[in-house]
């Protein structure tokens, strides 16, 4: 069936802002359920042949990510610090294309564990943090995790990790072929009594639902997949939504304001097209899945007489509790070639340190995975306390590229109220819309956790027989691709922005679903959970719509 093209003046059932991991799922689910859906995506729509093996373009020229020259952001570590323009890329990085960040993600697809949803109750309060339980449990989300694995396409081995939460169905396909880094992680970790297991990845290990298996080209992390094996919404949810004949995806459509009527209902959205012409799209309900940076910015820029401090912001919580996921790495050099630049980033993971343990003296936990890490430029630019920066020593380090691997500890970030997305009082973007100001400083426990996992990574590398180990820096973060917690979910309208169905507490027909919905950060791989939330949210949105409750 041909994709739907709505006419100017049409009122759609749902307008979805953003076509990424959440927006793509919601568009597909709602259109399959029989509703008309218009997806507005600020970036262009690319095809597999548009993606390139070009590290310089994708990492240093903002190839498919938000560009600071078009969409600048300012940064300050604390509210009383001076605000600065970014030192390099924008502080909050996302892919600005159809498919959103599912286009350039690494595709690690761990489920959150049961503890992630109730750690506040289990561990109590933490000084300096707005630590809270989720209003839903792992059990509430489990059916949707399964739906992600089967509908989106995830490779993995059910039951392989003794730490995995309960599941109702195995993975739809086996894990991807193990790499040398995975074998060495297994060797070192098992020697230490740990439990490495095959990494769940949203990359196809075999042909699935009309898409081919991965060809192991090695360009996943921050690149678009050239063979459609990476399970981006660009390749699965979006085409399936269009196939219903009820969904249109309109690229290069930048939404800058949600419109409201005097009855307190959202009536649609204002957006710019490719030529910067302004349009208005009417809708019965508005869904913001613009990511954890742009969703709060859009709400704050949609302030009106009823909501002078930002739309749906009676709690004052819109934009607050920004979480990044902290982390730290260690490189290991081995005797023989690993050739880590071949194939996907990760094939083995260790979750033995997932849970927070009060005996460590700080909150936090995480997972350690084995990976290549960056491509050649990033590899050469990596810095650490004892890593050579230039000269013969740097050259020698680089010449060990084929014999090297990385262990990366992915860790928690605590929700801190001051860490936030707000509106910069001066700066505007390329369309004249107020830019975002990012305030972020890691909680001390976050850095302690990162250092803890780096120490464990070093132990694993030593046990695996590494000849040389380089530690990366553990320092305060100033940028991230994980944009979490800025419109948190909760039962109390005074302390949260959306309810457990993703409906804003303040506006009945305004829904939010993306990284902004998360209450806690998980352990570094949030997209799986964002998509599970999106499947669940879409089901409830459809239910409300059928009852005429939007």
């Amino acid at each position: 069936m041909s994709p739907r093209k709505f006419k100017s003046g049409d009122t759609v059932d749902f307008v979805v802002v953003g076509s990424g991991p959440a927006g793509g799922v919601i568009a597909r689910e709602l259109s399959v359920a029989g509703f008309t859906v218009l997806v507005l995506e600020q970036g262009p729509r690319l095809s597999p042949s548009d993606f390139e093996h070009d590290e310089f373009k994708y990492f240093y020229l903002n190839g498919i990510s938000n560009n600071p020259l078009q969409s600048p952001q300012t940064f300050r570590p604390t509210p009383d610090s001076p605000t600065k323009l970014p030192e390099s890329r924008n502080p909050l990085i996302y892919a600005r294309v159809v498919g959103g960040s599912s286009t350039h993600y690494t595709a690690n697809y761990w489920r959150f564990h049961e503890v992630d949803f109730k750690e506040r109750s289990l561990l109590g309060s933490i000084p300096g943090a707005a630590f809270a339980d989720w209003p839903i449990s792992y059990q509430d989300l489990e059916p949707y995790y399964t739906k992600v694995e089967w509908d989106v396409g995830v490779s993995g081995l059910a039951g392989a990790s003794p730490f995995d939460p309960p599941r109702t169905k195995p993975y739809p396909m086996p894990p991807l072929p193990v790499k040398s880094s995975g074998v060495l992680l297994e060797k070192g970790a098992r020697k230490l009594g740990l439990h490495p297991y095959p990494a769940p990845m949203a990359i196809l290990s075999q042909p699935y639902r009309g898409r081919p298996a991965c060809v192991n080209c090695g360009f996943c992390h921050s690149f678009g997949c050239e063979v459609m094996a990476k399970s981006s919404t660009l390749y699965n949810m979006i085409p399936e939504a269009e196939e219903t004949g009820r969904c249109e995806v309109r690229p290069e459509s930048y939404v800058f304001r949600v419109a409201m009527n005097d009855k307190g209902r959202a009536t649609g959205v204002h957006y710019f097209d490719r030529e910067k012409r302004e349009h208005f799209q009417k809708a019965r309900a508005v869904v913001l899945s613009a990511n954890g940076a742009e969703t709060p910015r859009l709400l704050l820029n949609s302030a009106n007489a009823r909501f002078p401090h930002g739309l749906a912001n009676s709690s004052g919580m819109v934009g607050k509790h920004l979480m990044f996921n902290t982390g730290a790495y260690a490189h290991g050099v081995f005797e023989h070639e690993l050739n880590e630049y071949k194939s996907v980033q990760v094939t083995r993971v260790v979750h033995d340190f997932y849970d927070s343990d009060p005996r460590r003296g700080f909150y936090g936990g995480g997972g350690i995975d084995a990976r290549i890490g960056p491509q050649p430029i990033g590899w050469a630019l990596a810095t650490g306390p004892d890593m050579p920066r230039w000269g013969a020593d740097l050259k020698a380090r680089l010449e060990a590229f084929k014999r090297s691997m990385t262990l990366y500890g992915h860790t928690t970030s605590l929700a801190v109220e001051a860490n936030s997305v707000s509106i910069d009082p001066e700066l505007k973007d390329a369309w004249g819309i107020p830019a975002m100001r990012v305030t972020y400083k890691d909680h001390p426990d976050d850095l302690a956790t990162a250092k803890f996992l780096q120490d464990r990574s070093v132990e694993i590398l030593e046990a695996a027989g590494a000849q040389k180990i380089w530690r990366g820096s553990v320092s305060l973060r100033t940028s991230s691709v994980h944009l979490l917690g800025t419109c948190r979910m909760g039962n109390d309208p005074a302390s949260s922005v959306i309810d457990k169905y993703h409906r804003t507490h303040d506006v009945k027909n305004l829904f939010l679903c993306d990284g902004s919905s998360l209450v806690t950060s998980g352990r570094g791989q949030p997209t799986m959970t964002i998509q599970a939330l999106a499947f669940r949210a879409a089901e409830h949105m459809a239910r409300f719509a059928r009852r005429n409750e939007i």
């Binding site: 310089f56 990492f59 240093y60 560009n67 600071p68 020259l69 078009q70 600048p72 605000t83 600065k84 323009l85 030192e87 890329r89 039951g159 392989a160 003794p162 072929p177 790499k179 040398s180 995975g182 074998v183 297994e186 439990h195 095959p198 060809v215 192991n216 080209c217 992390h221 921050s222 023989h336 070639e337 690993l338 050739n339 880590e340 890490g373 960056p374 491509q375 050649p376 430029i377 990033g378 630019l381 990596a382 810095t383 920066r389 230039w390 000269g391 013969a392 740097l394 050259k395 680089l398 590229f401 084929k402 001066e426 700066l427 505007k428 973007d429 830019a435 991230s480 691709v481 994980h482």
Partner: protein
């Protein structure tokens, strides 16, 4: 997912320090247009203008790059034409940073002349003299910029002007192919398969 490792102190990708928020807000359309035009020009291999650095500047730039990634058993920055990449980059994608770069290079050259008055130029000095001097300036923003550019010029795709004939990639053994098949390396060749755990999770 992780962020790329990159220099935090190089001015190259920085908007901080030279413009204010207000300035950027007022001037962004021109900047964005210039950057987009430059990026487009650079993407058309061979069509971008080359030659914004003088011969003297280029010799010093090449000499600095050659010390950052020296030649040896494998190619270094010199053989990879990193200096050519740098020259071309300031004609295209970093055109708006040329003046700043040139000022940094001039300061570098003056400081070298003060430290080594007998040497005609950094590029003409002995390797020992060059290394001794670089050790005194290797924490400066200009050096960080040179480090960044040298590495990019050695390892970025050849279409940008460096990594001549893929020599940078060859030096570290990186292969850019669209298809690889397992086994990928020495350690996964004889992998017997994942062995499941039989014991329950320890408390």
């Amino acid at each position: 997912m992780t962020e790329p490792a990159e220099s935090r102190r190089s001015f190259l990708f920085s908007t901080a320090g030279i413009v204010t928020s207000s300035w950027l807000a007022a001037n962004w359309p021109g900047i964005a247009a210039a950057a987009q035009h430059a990026a487009h020009a650079a993407s058309v291999s061979g069509s971008a203008p080359v030659g914004v650095l003088s011969k003297t500047e280029l010799l010093d730039v090449e000499a600095i790059a050659a010390q950052i990634l020296p030649s040896g058993a494998t190619a270094g920055a010199r053989e990879a034409h990193a200096a050519y990449f740098i020259d071309r980059a300031f004609a295209t994608v970093f055109a708006n940073r040329l003046q700043e770069f040139r000022a940094g290079l001039t300061d570098f050259q003056r400081a070298f002349q003060t430290a080594q008055p007998a040497a005609a130029s950094f590029g003409g000095a002995s390797s020992d003299q060059q290394i001794a001097f670089l050790k005194t300036v290797d924490r400066t923003p200009f050096f960080e910029t040179m480090r960044l550019l040298t590495i990019i010029g050695t390892f970025a795709a050849s279409k940008y002007g460096g990594n001549f004939e893929g020599l940078g990639w060859k030096a570290i053994g990186f292969e850019d192919q669209h298809v690889f098949e397992p086994p990928f390396g020495y350690y996964d060749r004889d992998y017997p398969g994942f062995v499941p755990y039989t014991k329950e999770r320890a408390s």
